[in-house]
Symmetry: C2
Subunit: 308 residues, 2 copies
């Protein structure tokens, strides 16, 4: 039986050093996986490498994943449901929420279009201040967007699985009312986890319900949007534009129609850059290990059946 | 002597109809300039046409200008200092403040750069959330920016002629401390009137004091910046970039170096588009005429000596 304080940080990857430091700051001792009570997984890029580590670490009762979206790990989590799996849910909400607002305003304000000009052109633009915003998702990113927009006099609608009221939100609707929810919005921000229920959630019907000047912003996962339906809506001018930090497929291959449409901007999954995220992740791991050493459950438990 | 209620709205220009409507809604009667107690000037484009109208309207004791920046009218205002001149100061603060924030975040977040890519590229970006902002100007636009950023945990410095404290602002400095004021900022927003004192305020010294990742945002007037010094700083990478809604000269001629620099975005003086601004202006004129009919001074008095 491993001591609670014995914690492995693997593999040797980019975030490795700052996460080891965080474990030690919390009072933990960094050990090899075979003798650890917990594993802090430090590599976002190679999900398949984690399976053998978990198998070879029967003493590790808690596995901390360093991301918010854990869909590449869901099979593994379901394979070891007796372990406690946590993710970095809500840890990156602030940078992602800011990026979502920056994308929405740079689209609505036509900054994306002006960035491609080399001459003085005509006035364009719509406001998010005094406007209307619909957010899909009622988690940490949505809460943070609502908080950042508190002075903007923006009427916010949230669409979530369980339509409980939220502070600062004018109305909360269930997923079945997606088309109704976007009808009056100037911008629609996607901030839901990718699950069987949200895959393809934004399809032709929702896009057709949007206003012709409204922008779609995706900071969730590419698979939440039906890409073909989106390209069609953009080509036809059915919506104002799309600002996508995530795509399907991702990375978006060269020559894909989304690269050349004038009413699209793509940022390469950088709402939370490593530079922004690593200090936030290290702080999360420090707090998580502190809880673990106190005998409390670390934050961010993943529900194996829901997949997030 | 003209009745207070007799108000001229000239010339026949784009804003003319909605401003006549606003005068009538306030209880005024629209008359010709020769028999008016006040003139509402409806044309932003032809300042030279106003002189003859004022001369031929000896009964007009109040002249309402429909803009915030009245520098093309200052000579005329000084020529008729016995009249009350008002401008639309603070009327467009909300759209302009939103545009300033949109420009700052689209620069810092590298959205401007990504908008010009046609392939998946590397992570870039800095946050304004949890960052530092310096605003030149302590008027309506600055106050509105501070209000919009209230949830952003952004440390704000304001530089103004009279360094009185401002709500929500960490420190207020005088113009002599401009270089010191920008030293730690992630973004610098210009929101001052163009006067003899502010012309060329942002020169080589201030630019040299800025951080290499910091963006300069101009929603004031092009002449506040020394354009040659700015181009030099941008070419050398001394600052992160420039997001300019106003330029000197303006419109910026084709082939100007600012059009081709990768760390620049230019929007064509559209922080407040006609679509956004006309309803705001009409509401301002309605409130102004209501004050005039009550015998109060309408808002937005221009100080002929200060020039704003």
């Amino acid at each position: 039986m491993a001591e609670l304080s014995q914690i492995a940080v693997v593999p040797e990857a980019g975030r490795h050093e700052s996460l080891k430091e965080a474990v030690r700051e919390a009072g933990g001792v960094v050990v090899a996986p075979g003798e650890a009570s917990a594993i802090v997984w430090a590599d976002p890029a190679h999900p398949n490498d984690l399976g053998p580590v978990v198998e070879q670490s029967p003493t590790a009762r808690w596995i901390a994943l360093p991301f918010a979206g854990v869909e590449p790990y869901v099979r593994l989590i379901r394979q070891f449901p007796d372990r406690l799996w946590t993710c970095a849910r809500d840890v990156y909400s602030r940078p992602v929420a800011e990026h979502a607002i920056a994308l929405a305003t740079s689209g609505l304000r036509h900054i994306v279009g002006y960035a491609r000009e080399s001459q003085w052109t005509e006035p364009h633009g719509h406001m998010l201040v005094d406007g209307r915003l619909t957010i899909f998702g009622g988690g940490g990113i949505a809460s943070e967007i609502v908080r950042l927009l508190q002075g903007w006099n923006c009427e916010i609608t949230v669409v979530r699985r369980n339509p409980r009221p939220m502070d600062g939100v004018a109305r909360v609707l269930g997923s079945a009312e997606a088309a109704e929810a976007v009808r009056r919005a100037d911008a629609v921000i996607l901030a839901v986890p990718l699950t069987a229920e949200t895959a393809g959630l934004i399809g032709a019907d929702v896009l057709a319900a949007m206003k012709p000047h409204a922008w779609l912003v995706n900071v969730a996962r590419g698979g939440v949007v039906d890409t073909d339906a989106l390209v069609k809506a953009l080509v036809e001018g059915a919506i104002g534009g799309a600002a996508l930090d995530v795509t399907d497929p991702e990375p978006l291959p060269e020559g894909h129609p989304l690269w050349v449409l004038s009413n699209v901007v793509i940022t390469p999954h950088i709402a939370n850059t490593p530079e922004m995220g690593i200090p936030l992740l290290a702080a999360h791991i420090r707090r998580s290990v502190e809880a673990w050493l106190r005998g409390d459950e670390p934050p961010g438990r993943v529900d194996p059946s829901a997949g997030y």
